[in-house]
Each structure stands twice: as structure tokens, then as C-alpha cells.
Symmetry: C2
Subunit: 334 residues, 2 copies
DNA sequence: CGAGACTTCGTGAACGTTCACTACGCAGAG
DNA sequence: CTCTGCGTAGTGAACGTTCACGAAGTCTCG
């Protein structure tokens, strides 16, 4: 009464072959329904395969046939709509090129980002992601893997980087607010601590250029932070008549607070988000925003990564560094 | 002036070995920084490896060492927050168990879902997903792979299924609306065509049981559909004082329309969504909903799939069929 | 000076599959 | 009766890596 290898080893092609009384090659022919096999044998082999729960090893197969290419996508928090819209774009762009996408979410990592990175590096042929690690650490982990880093200022000798240049968008956003009569414009920022983010100091720079006072309130990047920072702003500077938020989530938090105190949007205070998420349409009034074309960003990232993988593009240098900027998406809050 | 194998074949461990004047094993030792190697040789090997752009084949390695397990996740549209919240949960639950997750988005498939399914089946060790295909087709594509199907009514002999039982949630939702004095409750449905969805006919059943008229308007599942169907409802049945929407997106669309016509929520008309998405918090007033614990669903799906893979659970039958239901999440619209 | 012990490195085998080729049996044509 | 061709099936080799083992060389110490 032996346990017939209950949970020992998964069946191999040889197990199937001997059980069905044929050779490896015949099993292969049956499994991949190739020509040159008698329908009766094919049937029999298939039945044996099923009985033995045989599944061809993807590793052994990958060794022999053309490898299925796989992209690693590294995101901070998939729950955030910004990242999920980006992810959707990357997945579909990659699919069009015949690549798979494997995900890693650094926010929910069990033991910090580093192990996640290491394990991802083993599994994939290229990486796209929000990588907030030093360049040398990048080399250490990924070696010569193609890597596209998102939203990072390019430095000479850097890997492929897609930079988000907030300046043109911010400039046109502020211009629009000023043109519509706003004079007390505040930025709901989310740098690290009291430090301004890049968006924060660009805002200050542009405002100063225009001879306007740059009101900048530090906070966090979530909806709740938006509520909080807007409340503080209203207390400290009741004269504000427009806010630009660190992102759309913060903007929607700010809108919630404005609604709570009964302030009309955009009458009493205009609101301008950053990101241009599609969920900006679900709030009332619909959120105006400095929009990034996330579909285009995802597609660009995939094209760069695939290009580097194929050797059409170098792994580093200006040729693989791109800049994208925002366009003013006017809906109803500004 | 030969092109030194510019784009011919990627370097193998043997190329590195001969170039560095050592053996395979020494290269292995250097790459996986194992003990028993002279630091100087290790350094040299590493340099050669880098120069040749050598990357160990994950297939060859997977053949020898313990396989990294991979989960396939099949979703309709990652852009939809419902799916992305679910995806985030699956990714993190899987990561905790040491599994990778590879994504497929059937909405953006190039040649229909079938090829996507086929290619996924080759790549993964288990599948979780919204699979709207016939059971026999499932067998055909996935064979004996563990498969967890989401949101499907269980049938005898079925594979693993996580059923969403809308009845308890709907019952308590309707009870709450009635208790707060609503009498003209409508369902903003999104079945196929004029046909009621499961949520639709359950709504009708419960309403009839209570002796109330079940008003059900067919529509679609998006925000825009919500706007549209609410407008039609307001035209046809101005007396409605509460709506239950097919999902949160439709509910938010309905809220937009109510805002547009200046109707107070929940004063003039209560709104109850289904799903309990976290983005329900960004609208004003915050959306009440029949909430599904998506983190729990994701975790459950992963546990079932991993259990089936490991042999702890059968591949089919009642032991791997679960039912989850909604809880009434009261925020501000009902 | 020789016996061990340790350090460093190399060799055969194995993982599971597919490709290219060969072998067999049998039909019909010459 | 032999030759050719076709349908079917099997065999050696290869893919690129790691594991288990063994073989040198160096060092230590009696």
C-alpha cells in the first residue's frame, strides 16, 4: 500500500511517456498538438497526462524555445489610483509587444524594498518603476538589466529616466488662475517634512517671478492630508482664493474641507489638482488638474525598456532620458 | 573587424568562465556570492561578467533550484478601482507567501481573451481571476492548474469559486433605507441589456417581500452610465427618495446628476452604492455602500489557490467554494 | 619531512524540455 | 520485386545552470 508518490515529485514528461508506453517526443507531440501523431495515441497520451497531473515545466521549456519576455513593474502603492492607472497602461503596452508584466508593490513588502528588488531582478528581463534608491544601489541590485526609473530628475550618467517636468504645467496653471482674477494662491504641498517638494519650490519660484506671494503649506499626499492641510490653510490665511494641490488626492481632500465649511468652488476658492486622474470626474464640481497623460507615460516606459533590452537603445545616457510635462485640464474647479 | 557577437546570443556562464580563465562553478560561486572563492578571482570574474553583460538564465536556474512560484491574476479592467484594490490585496497576500504575481488585463487584450488565457496558463502555477468562460473551456485552457474564479455562482462539480452573495447586504441596505423612512427605492442596475443582474433581481425579490414596489432601471456599470440612468429615473419616477446603485461608480454618477439638478443628498434622495470602495470617501457627502472587504477576498483567493497548489485542498468541490457577503457601510449618503 | 586540515577550484551529472535527425512499417508505382 | 514516399514513432544532443564530489595547492604542527 505505497502512497503512489502522493506529494513527492510532480510528474515529468518521462513519467507520462513510460506510463503511456511511448517516447518523450510523442508526448511532446501530443501536448503541443503537433502534426505527425496518430490520433489514437494522442488521445491515450493526453489521458495519461491528465491522470498523472502532468504539467510541462515552464523552465525546461523556456530553456529550449524562445523565451517569453517579462517586465517587472515596481510601484509604491497599487491602491493609489495614480499608480493603478499607470499600471494598466504598462500592462497593456507590454502585452501588445508580447511581454508579460510581473508586479511588485513596495508599500506592502514584508522586509523592506531591498529583498523585493533582489527577487524581482532574478525574475525579469527589464524593470520599470518608482525607484527611490541611489544609482550605485541600483547597479548593485539590477546589474545590467534594463531599468526605467519614473519621476526622477536626470543626472549625467544616469540610467533611463522619465522625468516629470512640473514647470510648464505649473506655469500655465498659475497663469490661468491669475487670468481668472485670483491673487492669493496657495500650494498644498507634500514634501518630506517641512521641505518643499519639487512642485513646491517651482510654485514658489513662479509666483515670485510674477510678484505674487507664494503661500505654501506642508502636508502629506493623501486625501486625509488634503482635508487637514486645507483646514490649516483656511485658518491661517482666510484670504486665499485658489489652491494648487500636490496631487489630485490632496485636491479632493481640500474640496471636502471647502464643502464642509460651505465655501463655494470655484467661487470662493478655486482648486487645481496635479495628475489628471480620471477619478477627478467623480467629484462635484469636477476637478481641474494639471494632467499627465499616464497612458503615454506607460507606453513610453515600455518602449524604452524594450528598446534597451533589444539593444536598439543604450542602457544609459541622454538617449534614454525623456521628459514629460503636464497640460492644463480644465474641468470645473478652476 | 568582426562585430564581436554584437546582438547574437546573450553570454552564458561558459563564456564568462573561459573569458576569465576559470570554470563554470567558480563563476557560479562569484555570482551568487558563495563561500570558498578567492576574493581576487571573484573580483575578476565579476568584472568579466559585467563586461560580457552576462545574466544567468532564470530558466536554467529554475530548472535546478527550488522554483519561484507564480500566480496569474486575470482582471477585466485594472483602471477600475474595484479591480485595482483587489489586485493590491492579491499582490500583497501572495508576496507574504513568497509568490509572485503576473498580471493580465483582459480588457486590453489584442486578440480576445482566449490567447491571453493560453499564454498565461503556460507561465504560472495557479490562477485567480474573473473568468467569464464556460467550465469546459476552463478545463481546456488551464487543465489541472489550480484556478480560483471570482464572483460566480457555484455549480456542482465546479472549480474553486468565491461567490459574492449580495442578498444579506441588499437586505440590510434596504432595511436601513426603509427604517429611515424611504418608500420609493430604485435600483440603478447594470445587467446585460434589459435583463436584471443578480443584484437586480435580488433587489426586486426583497422589495416585493416587503410589499414595496421594486423600481429597477437598466443601465451600464460606469460613472457616465450612472449619470445617465439617474437622469432617466428622475424623469420617469420623480417620487424616488432612495437609490441603490449597481456599484459605487454608478452611485457616484448618480450623485453627480443629483448635484446637477440641485437635489439634496441624502435629504431629497439617499444613495447607496455597492462595493465599498475607498474612493467613496472623496465625494461629498461621502458615499454609503454595501461594502465588500476586498483585502479579505484577495487574501482568501490566494490562500485557496496556494492550498490547491500544495495539495492541501482539492481542486474542485465544496471544500474550495466560499461565499462572501457585504456589510452595510454607513457614511453620509444613506 | 610528512600527515593532516583548510582553501580554492574543477568535473560529471542532473534538472525537463524541444529540435534535428533517423528508423520503421506499409502503401502504391514502376 | 524493388523503389519511392508517407505516416508514425524514437534517439542523441542541446539549452544554461547548480549540486555533489573530488583534486590540487598551501599552511600548520608535530
Amino acid at each position: 500500500m505505497k502512497p503512489e508518490r502522493s506529494r513527492a515529485k510532480p510528474a515529468t514528461i518521462l513519467d507520462v511517456a513510460s506510463e503511456a508506453g511511448v517516447s518523450r517526443q510523442t508526448v511532446t507531440r501530443a501536448m503541443n498538438n503537433m502534426s505527425g501523431i496518430n490520433p489514437a495515441t494522442k488521445q491515450r497520451v493526453l489521458e495519461v497526462a491528465r491522470a498523472l497531473k502532468y504539467r510541462p515545466s515552464r523552465f525546461a521549456r523556456g530553456l529550449v524555445v524562445a523565451h517569453p519576455l517579462t517586465m517587472g513593474l515596481l510601484l509604491d502603492d497599487m491602491t493609489n489610483p495614480f499608480y493603478s492607472e499607470l499600471a494598466a497602461s504598462v500592462v497593456s503596452s507590454a502585452a501588445e509587444l508580447g511581454w508579460n508584466v510581473i508586479f511588485a508593490d513596495t508599500a506592502h513588502g514584508v522586509a523592506g524594498p531591498r529583498p523585493i528588488l533582489e527577487s524581482l531582478a532574478m525574475q525579469v528581463d527589464a524593470v520599470i518603476g518608482y525607484l527611490r534608491v541611489r544609482p550605485d544601489e541600483l547597479d548593485e541590485v539590477f546589474g545590467d538589466l534594463p531599468v526605467v526609473v519614473l519621476e526622477k530628475a536626470p543626472e549625467p550618467g544616469d540610467r533611463s529616466v522619465i522625468t516629470f517636468d512640473f514647470e510648464p504645467g505649473l506655469r500655465s496653471g498659475i497663469a490661468h488662475l491669475v487670468d481668472s482674477g485670483r491673487r492669493h494662491i496657495a500650494m498644498l504641498d507634500a514634501g518630506s517634512g517641512e521641505e518643499p517638494s519639487e512642485r513646491g519650490w517651482l510654485f514658489e519660484k513662479i509666483m515670485v517671478e510674477r510678484g505674487l506671494e507664494p503661500i505654501r503649506i506642508p502636508g502629506g499626499p493623501t486625501i486625509a492630508d488634503g482635508v487637514d492641510v486645507m483646514r490649516r490653510l483656511l485658518d491661517a490665511r482666510p484670504e486665499v482664493d485658489a489652491v494648487i494641490a500636490f496631487n489630485d488626492l490632496v485636491a479632493m481632500g481640500a474640496m471636502k474641507e471647502l464643502h464642509r465649511v460651505g465655501a463655494d468652488i470655484p467661487g470662493r476658492c478655486a482648486v487645481l489638482g496635479i495628475d489628471g486622474l480620471s477619478i477627478g470626474e467623480i467629484v462635484t464640481p469636477e476637478l481641474s488638474s494639471l494632467a499627465l497623460d499616464l497612458r503615454a507615460v506607460g507606453r513610453l516606459a515600455v518602449e524604452l525598456a524594450v528598446g534597451m533590452h533589444g539593444g536598439a537603445l543604450p542602457m544609459t545616457g541622454p538617449e534614454v532620458q525623456r521628459t514629460v510635462s503636464h497640460t492644463l485640464l480644465l474641468r470645473a474647479t478652476a
